[in-house]
């Protein structure tokens, strides 16, 4: 466990409280947490994500004061929020844009983890909790979008819940029963909408709990850093989280807020689909059913596979495979900074994901379909072939001996001090 300086309660009251519920100790240890000195701005996205979660909870609970989860009233209640409720437009647009911002930050945060090997031992559990958070976020966002009960809401729920009917090809009747159980009826209707609202309200609190576990797991091992090297001298290679990283995170959050505010106040509907401003019509399918941008890569993978069950497995598999990365990657080197060959494959992965996103918005035919198949194959090959094989054959570039050395550029005497006694000032 990584420890900073021990908290000492200074007053009689804080001593009394510390013996009964050490929350001040908890907060003090969090603020003093020894954090590597060399973290770059990619490490600010954890804090940004926490703020996104708070914003979504806050605006969401306010929206729930005015929203009605009934098929006859839902769409109108959203317009009531936009037009009648004081600042309702602000709450709705912030929540809507906030979901996109949440995923933008989550994807950057995840790619940071892949690039710097933050998933490698001893951070495997930290990584897996993160993947779980991503999956619960996806479920939450999907349900939230459905609540508007516009054309896209209704048909997205119909399409995605219908996926489970693919289980009929494994065991006759199983898929249909499960789909009816999810729907609460014979089609997507009021029963479905009501339970989507209930679960959409629930899951963000599940996410909050998972985030607590995620930060706890992080504090056990300590942060990774851009070199991927372990911290060996806490005094020289780390600084207290507060004030250094609180201030840096605050600055990063302000820049992020600028982007957020640009969308909310100038182009709030840019990231959305106009079709969702039409009320849901169960008798008319929109010409193009397209999910929100953050789901497009998964949508592309779903439609790339010719078989229905195969497509479903591939789409879920694209998420599930992330759990196994700590064991799929055989490299002894954490950070891609020192992996010259892997670096190309990493960017190939990024390009594949972005391309799949683009292709998810297109009709799955002709060259779009073949491109989607190509990038889907690369996506899985990256995890199942590149990561296991490359780690064994790649020669890393020369690495500094320690984090200190990477910062100061000076060679440290390899005296095996083990970080117990800091070197005297020169």
């Amino acid at each position: 466990m990584v420890h900073g300086p021990e908290y000492q309660p200074k007053t009689a009251f804080t001593r009394w409280l510390d013996q009964r519920l050490p929350i001040v100790r908890f907060a003090a240890e969090f603020m003093n947490f020894p954090t590597p000195t060399n973290l770059n701005y990619l490490w600010t996205f954890g804090g940004i994500l926490a703020i996104c979660l708070v914003i979504q909870l806050f605006t969401g609970i306010i929206l729930a004061m005015h929203y009605v989860a009934n098929t006859a009233l839902a769409f109108d209640s959203v317009e009531h929020i936009m037009r009648d409720v004081n600042y309702g437009w602000l709450m709705r647009y912030t929540h809507m844009v906030g979901a996109s911002m949440f995923f933008l930050a989550a994807y950057i945060h995840t790619f940071r983890g892949v690039y710097y090997g933050s998933y490698k031992a001893p951070r495997e559990i930290l990584w897996m909790i993160g993947v779980t958070i991503l999956i619960v976020m996806i479920a939450t966002a999907f349900m939230g979008y459905s609540l508007v009960w516009g054309q896209m809401s209704f048909w997205a729920v119909t399409v995605i819940t219908n996926l489970f009917s693919s289980l009929d090809s494994i065991y006759k009747g199983l898929g249909t029963s499960i789909v009816q159980w999810i729907w609460g009826g014979f089609s997507v209707d009021n029963a479905t909408l009501n339970r989507l609202f209930s679960l959409h309200y629930l899951l963000p609190f599940v996410i909050t709990g998972l985030v607590g576990l995620h930060v706890w797991a992080l504090h056990v091992t300590g942060n990774n850093n851009p070199t991927g090297l372990d911290i060996r001298n806490q005094d020289k290679e780390t600084i207290p989280f507060h004030p250094y990283y609180t201030v840096k995170d605050f600055f990063a959050i302000m820049v992020f807020a600028l982007l957020f505010a640009y969308f909310v106040f100038y182009v709030p509907n840019y990231l959305g689909d106009a079709a969702n401003y039409q009320t849901a019509n169960p008798l008319q399918t929109p010409p193009h059913i397209v999910p929100e941008w953050y789901f497009l890569p998964f949508y592309a993978i779903l439609r790339a596979i010719p078989s229905k069950l195969g497509g479903v497995c591939a789409m879920f598999g694209a998420l599930v495979i992330l759990y196994f990365i700590p064991w799929l990657d055989t490299s002894r080197v954490r950070s891609t900074k020192y992996r010259p060959i892997y670096r190309y494959f990493f960017w190939a992965l990024v390009i594949s994901c972005i391309s799949l996103g683009y292709l998810g918005s297109k009709s799955p035919e002709g060259s779009y379909l073949w491109a989607a198949r190509f990038f889907t194959i690369y996506y899985f090959a990256h995890f199942l072939l590149v990561m296991p094989i490359l780690g064994l054959i790649e020669t890393p570039t020369p690495m500094p001996a320690s984090v200190s050395e990477s910062i100061t550029g000076r060679r440290e005497p390899r005296s095996g001090r083990g970080g117990m006694h800091p070197l005297p000032a020169e």
Binding site: M65, H66, H80, R83, D84, N86, M91
Partner: protein, 194 residues
């Protein structure tokens, strides 16, 4: 090593300025972000649009009464007979439990005379909020079959408050006369409440 550098630790530094400026902007930003969150719970535009109700009085015969909804509350509109008006006018102010006319929207303290509780030239029309000032039940007396109590006005079945023909509390646990909402007679036989 003795200090040859002057001690400037008491001077206001650039850092102090930055701390205070940041703190001030955070406070302003937080207030700016918090206000919409609080204001959204205030009545919204659709609730405020229910602020007035129009009513055509022509179908209401002398001795008849109707109840309309205004801002979610029942409003008693009675076309009083001359006897009912007279009965209200002769009551001395000292006999009243509540001497205040209880006209909403008027800041001056008006005595609870029948004239103050109606509009000049239209004293047969009594328009009041039909909520007992005790604990909020709706008093009986609107329909001809209702119990009107000994003062001929309204009778609250919950705890026995008794109102006279001007809607003033005479006996029982209610502390105040029935409130008079803001209203105006508009063209012809219509009245606009609120």
């Amino acid at each position: 090593m003795d200090s040859t550098v002057d001690d400037h630790s008491d001077d206001v530094t650039r850092r102090d300025f930055i701390y205070i400026a940041t703190g001030a902007f955070v406070a302003i930003g937080a207030a700016g972000a918090l206000w919409p969150a609080i204001d959204q719970m205030n009545p919204d535009a659709s609730a405020l649009s229910l602020a007035s109700v129009d009513l055509d009085l022509a179908p209401i015969q002398p001795g008849q009464a109707v109840t309309v909804m205004w801002r979610g509350k029942p409003v008693f509109v009675r076309n009083r007979t001359p006897e009912e008006v007279q009965k209200a006018k002769v009551v001395p102010l000292d006999d009243l439990k509540d001497p205040d006319a209880r006209v909403l929207g008027v800041t001056a303290e008006l005595p609870a005379t029948d004239e103050n509780r109606t509009k000049p030239g239209k004293e047969n029309w009594l328009i009041m909020i039909g909520i007992c000032t005790h604990l909020g039940c709706i008093p009986k007396g609107q329909s001809p079959a209702d119990e009107k109590g000994p003062y001929g006005g309204w009778f609250c079945p919950c705890h026995g408050s008794m109102y006279d023909t001007a809607g003033r509390i005479r006996q029982g646990p209610a502390p105040r006369n029935l409130d008079i909402p803001p209203y105006q007679f508009v063209a012809g036989t219509k009245v606009k409440i609120g």
